[in-house]
Symmetry: C2
């Protein structure tokens, strides 16, 4: 290592430019804290990349080997995104003896345990604070602060776009489509919002947190994933009447039999909870641990600034290790192949919890009794019920909304599939889970 810490970037989009800006703007503070200046030495851009007018031409290379295998690079920072190429380049960097920082959640969700195993094998650091929760120090907290304790559950808001949309729907009484359009115009949602509003992005991040917190190997596909597209304005209003707020949750819970419940879905949380007030594009991670109790980390989950702070803090941390000649100081032993176990997923139907249900039915005698009868037969007990004033007109439909006491999810699903077949039920029932917040 020279008198500077020389960083090579793979890719330079929004986050990369944030990293460049932060390392320039705070150069003196970073040098004071690390003991050496941090220098962005080279940037690999794919031939297909957009022009980067703010990037000095002398920094740019079109050959990734000039970053991951160059003698004058101390740390490789991968910010390209995508799975295939990014994964190959990270492996190549580790094999070439370079520690790596990455913000690539999609890649880590699929291959965190392999890549960390490779880093351990090479005696090198692989850090990824920016991959989950942007500027929120959740990875460091799980890895270091909770090193002495056992995590029992994680309940989180991990997708800022979904939280922004639900917040706007709640605040302004908007429907989903309208709120999505507003989020796109405000820059909080992509043109193709599927990964965000469908829950896929949150599932990626939950997979990474689960791997870290519980030391298991899993694939994102093993997580129950439901998007927020089914939440209607009317559900948000009914939830409010009962004292609840809709939030896009990501949950990992450990059960006594060693299985994990892993779910991403919108849920109702009590208005009095802290989580209900984590609004707009903010993210939050509520970690429950045995001795610690709750530890709740909240902040910006995305954006150039917060993400760059996490990337550069990882760079500084690795820089400290390089200066001290202790790459791999935090051994991430939870990821040694011999310690990691395959995840055992809790059966979806096994969840015991409260539910919100909404039925659109014809306004005629007996319908409510039929619904209540089926729920009773399936041992789903009703805690609260409201029936909305019927529409005017001949084909009047009413909305019946109820909250259940704790019930088994399998029983709820069974009841709902029976109710959906009743002759006077106009639309498939909506059901959402109620969670602690």
């Amino acid at each position: 290592m020279s008198t500077e810490l020389r960083v090579g970037l793979l890719g330079c989009g929004v986050v990369g430019q944030g990293v460049l800006r932060l390392s320039q703007d705070n150069a003196r503070a970073i040098e004071a804290r690390l003991g050496r200046p941090v220098r962005i030495q080279r940037v690999y851009l794919r031939p297909t990349s957009k022009a980067r007018p703010h990037l000095p031409a002398a920094l740019i290379s079109d050959d990734p080997r000039h970053v991951y295998a160059a003698d004058d690079i101390d740390i490789v920072v991968e910010l390209m995104g995508g799975i295939e190429t990014a994964g190959q380049l990270i492996e190549a960097a580790l094999r070439a003896g370079k520690p790596v920082v990455t913000a690539n959640k999609a890649l880590l969700a699929e291959r965190a345990h392999e890549l960390i195993a490779l880093a351990n094998q090479c005696g090198l650091d692989l850090y990824f604070e920016a991959a989950v929760g942007g500027g929120i120090p959740v990875i460091r907290t799980l890895r270091e602060s909770l090193a002495s304790d056992g995590v029992t559950a994680i309940r989180a808001i991990l997708n800022g776009t979904s939280n922004y949309i639900l917040s706007q729907m709640s605040r302004r009484g908007l429907g989903f489509a309208e709120a999505l359009k507003g989020a796109q115009e405000a820059g909080f949602a992509e043109a193709d919002p599927t990964l965000d509003v469908g829950g896929g992005d949150a599932a990626h991040k939950l997979a990474i947190l689960t791997t870290l917190a519980f030391g298991v190997r899993l694939k994102t596909a093993q997580i129950i994933t439901e998007g927020i597209t089914n939440v209607d304005a009317i559900d948000i209003q009914f939830a409010k009447r009962f004292g609840y707020v809709f939030k896009p949750l990501a949950i990992a819970e450990a059960f006594e039999d060693g299985s994990l419940g892993l779910r991403v879905h919108p849920a109702l949380v009590p208005e009095s909870s802290i989580m209900a007030h984590v609004t707009d594009a903010l993210n939050t991670v509520h970690i429950a641990a045995e001795a610690l109790g709750p530890c709740i980390l909240t902040g910006r989950g995305a954006g150039a600034g917060p993400t760059a702070v996490s990337v550069v803090s990882d760079v500084i941390d690795i820089g400290r290790n390089l200066l001290a000649k202790t790459a791999g100081r935090v051994p991430q032993r939870a990821f040694r192949e011999e310690v990691m176990s395959d995840v055992r997923i809790r059966d979806r139907g096994a969840r015991q919890g409260e539910f919100y249900m909404r039925f659109t039915v014809e306004d005629r005698p007996g319908v409510l009794a039929e619904i209540a009868g089926i729920l009773g037969q399936e041992s789903v007990s009703i805690a609260h019920l409201v029936q909305d004033a019927p529409d005017q007109g001949a084909n009047a439909a009413v909305e019946v909304v109820l909250l259940t006491h704790a019930a088994r999810e399998a029983a709820v699903e069974q009841a709902l599939s029976r109710i959906d077949q009743l002759p006077h039920v106009r639309a498939p029932a909506r059901r959402f889970r109620i969670e602690e917040g």
Copy 2:
């Protein structure tokens, strides 16, 4: 270092026993994460200590040198409390070549910069995650996660007892004395609650956070400190009417001229804020940083479990450094004498902000006009005002409550001292600051 990480405890009260329990209960997980088992090797108890029936007699020593200077101790953990002796023993441990973990906020509030300078000089680690916010990883976040960014403000709830009392007053409509009694019975307040409800404990913790976040030398006495004892049940009710909740805040703000505003006092925060919902004995630290934006850490601020988690995580972190032979790896350069500066405290009267004021006045014509007149003369502008229905009876008094627009604190104090002298004003005005939350 032997095949074990051998820890010596100075003192073994509630937190010490938590450390013993945690290191036993989670021995396997800790060993997996550190690569060595952690062993409590010896415990120094003062001659005046209570009997510790759960502590094996073989562990106990009545000579502190057997902890801080013994060859078979790798890390010293100071949990005695108090300033004088604890400080001497920490210095002695560092001089004897032992890294130190401490949870002693009173000591660090006065001497953090000296002790860290000594640790740096000795090339040893001095960690103190447990000193602020119990189980909340705020020290690590300020030291590592925010290493690349500049902190602009800290707004925090740092005293669980005060938060518990104000929460109970709000939830159950209790007066201060009654709520304090309840807190004492529930074990959330000491027999002598002065340090908690008077703001001294929060000021200690704010001093430590300020030292870390802004790299300044300061004494707790330099912090404006007002306790919660002046908050009446009626103030909590009025605040609620206006959409606010009382919280015991600790605030450090950096101004453009390089000065710091440092204050501990109860304040009104908006009901819609996250902080308003951090209730009971929970603590929270809202860090605002330039690139990061907000980062909010919430959790249990006290108690054997959370505090022990922070202590043992510090032990593991230092253990990693010892194994890697890199004591002092995080150089805490912000504390090198040549980098630290003396704090410049912002003048109390300079605060610009909104205020809540309550006046108890005789129910007669003209009083309100006199109050409003004086406020106007002092350029304090009224945003909202309510006057409560008068008491029945001859000597009827009314409560006049108003919220101001942003005003200079010096002007507010000047106005209030004039109003207090009006003939028909029955009691000194109550004034509380309104903060962002």
